[in-house]
Symmetry: C2
Subunit: 268 residues, 2 copies
């Protein structure tokens, strides 16, 4: 990548702790270049006790366009913004912040919308489909809201701790009225789309997130795990004749959504 | 320049208002690359009322190596640092800040030392020489201290408002005992080195900083103005057979000094 940073270059950041593993600088700087924007995104390593001070300073940094907030800052970032989207408030987290010209920080959450846009980009629009979502953590919550907003016919949430799945189903129902949302067992039979939103599959020897012997060719099986690209779940799904959807499609679309939001381009 | 910013890249900044005219990102990013350092310097546009908040945040930014402070922040930066060099305190300004691992901000001033190192690099060591310095602003003060520290035999300061020249001479005498420092008329006769540290010469039609008919081939005439490279003073000096010293030599050496200080390399 070829960058020439000058006094005119707009500044963007990613705030995280730890910082060394983040890949956002590479992917968003490539996106800026592809869009022909004079902008640069740099890593900002900030621990939780420094986050409020950094938000205050970024309000005062007049050439700052915005920043990404990632682990462990997504929840606290919601509180520190001056304004957040309804989706971010419902999910309880912010991962992208835009700085307005007057210094106000406006937050939004693109984890779930990146997933839905990734499905669409691969020809798998979830509208009017039935979806089984396995997991009830932060990523699962964002995806659940985005799927409900995309107009799924039915969304079932399966989680080892069923109370968490029920609580999340309640929040999604409340946030996006008119969609059927329930807690269910991790049984893929009868669903159009099955999504693994747990971290099971990242490490060698992880348990499977569901009983793959119940998968059939009518299921589309989707991952959000990027490494390894082919998880044990996806391999089993492919062997049983299912279509599969890779984790990286979520990131690809999310980068575009976050870039457009931070630079003030319309997101849709 | 080829930069690949990752989560491992150390962050540096230049804090200024306005910001678009700064050239430090280009020159320091080129220096980082020449030194083989995984580091990037970005512009940070901050007005005076935001400076304290930005210093607080930069203390908390764990991958920040340091930053340059420039117009109009050099004086206030001195107050906001946790520790400053004796030279910076005597001059009353800081232009470079290093962030220690524990978050402490340590300031120093390299305007004057850049000028002296530039003279040396061009074979004009000012030690034991007599110097006429024209001007008594911030740049002149930094250069006066650096010349005194470099062991000039005599330093005379000429300024339109003579009281300012006298006050500055007093501060330099106090800060660097053992050097003869006085206020004088802008008459170059009898001096080895004549330095223009006013802004006269930047704009077409500016008055000359001194009576060039008094220059003789024994004078070395030095500028700190970078644009135009050949000021009216330097042109007149050259016509009268003087050796001349360009403004850019100061910046070249200052970049190296600031880079080494911020990255924790020994400055000398």
């Amino acid at each position: 990548m070829s960058l020439m940073i000058t006094g005119n270059t707009r500044l963007f950041g990613i705030v995280a702790d730890p910082i060394t593993q983040v890949r956002t600088p590479q992917v968003l700087n490539a996106w800026f270049e592809a869009e022909g924007l004079d902008a640069v995104l740099v890593p900002m390593h900030v621990a939780e006790d420094g986050l409020a001070a950094v938000f205050d300073a970024l309000r005062k940094m007049q050439n700052l366009g915005g920043f990404i907030a990632t682990v462990p800052h997504k929840t606290r970032a919601l509180e520190l913004c001056d304004e957040v989207s309804a989706a971010a408030r419902a999910i309880g987290a912010v991962n992208t912040v835009r700085r307005e010209a007057d210094g106000r920080l406006v937050g939004d959450m693109f984890d779930g919308r990146g997933f839905v846009e990734g499905l669409k980009a691969q020809g798998h629009d979830p509208a009017a489909k039935s979806v089984l979502l396995v997991g009830a953590g932060g990523a699962a919550a964002a995806i659940a809201f985005a799927l409900a907003q995309a107009g799924v016919q039915r969304l079932s949430i399966a989680n080892r701790t069923q109370a968490k799945a029920q609580a999340m189903a309640g929040r999604v129902s409340q946030g996006v009225p008119g969609v059927q949302v329930d807690a269910a067992a991790p049984d893929p039979r009868g669903y159009d789309i099955v999504v693994n939103a747990t971290s099971l599959g990242m490490k060698e020897g992880d348990a499977l997130p569901l009983d793959t012997s119940l998968l059939s060719p009518s299921n589309l099986v989707a991952e959000i795990i990027m490494k390894p690209e082919m998880t044990a779940l996806l391999q089993a799904a492919q062997e049983r004749g299912c279509r599969i959807h890779l984790g990286r499609h979520m990131l690809d679309e999310q980068v575009r959504l976050m870039g457009r939001f931070m630079t003030g381009l319309a997101v849709e």
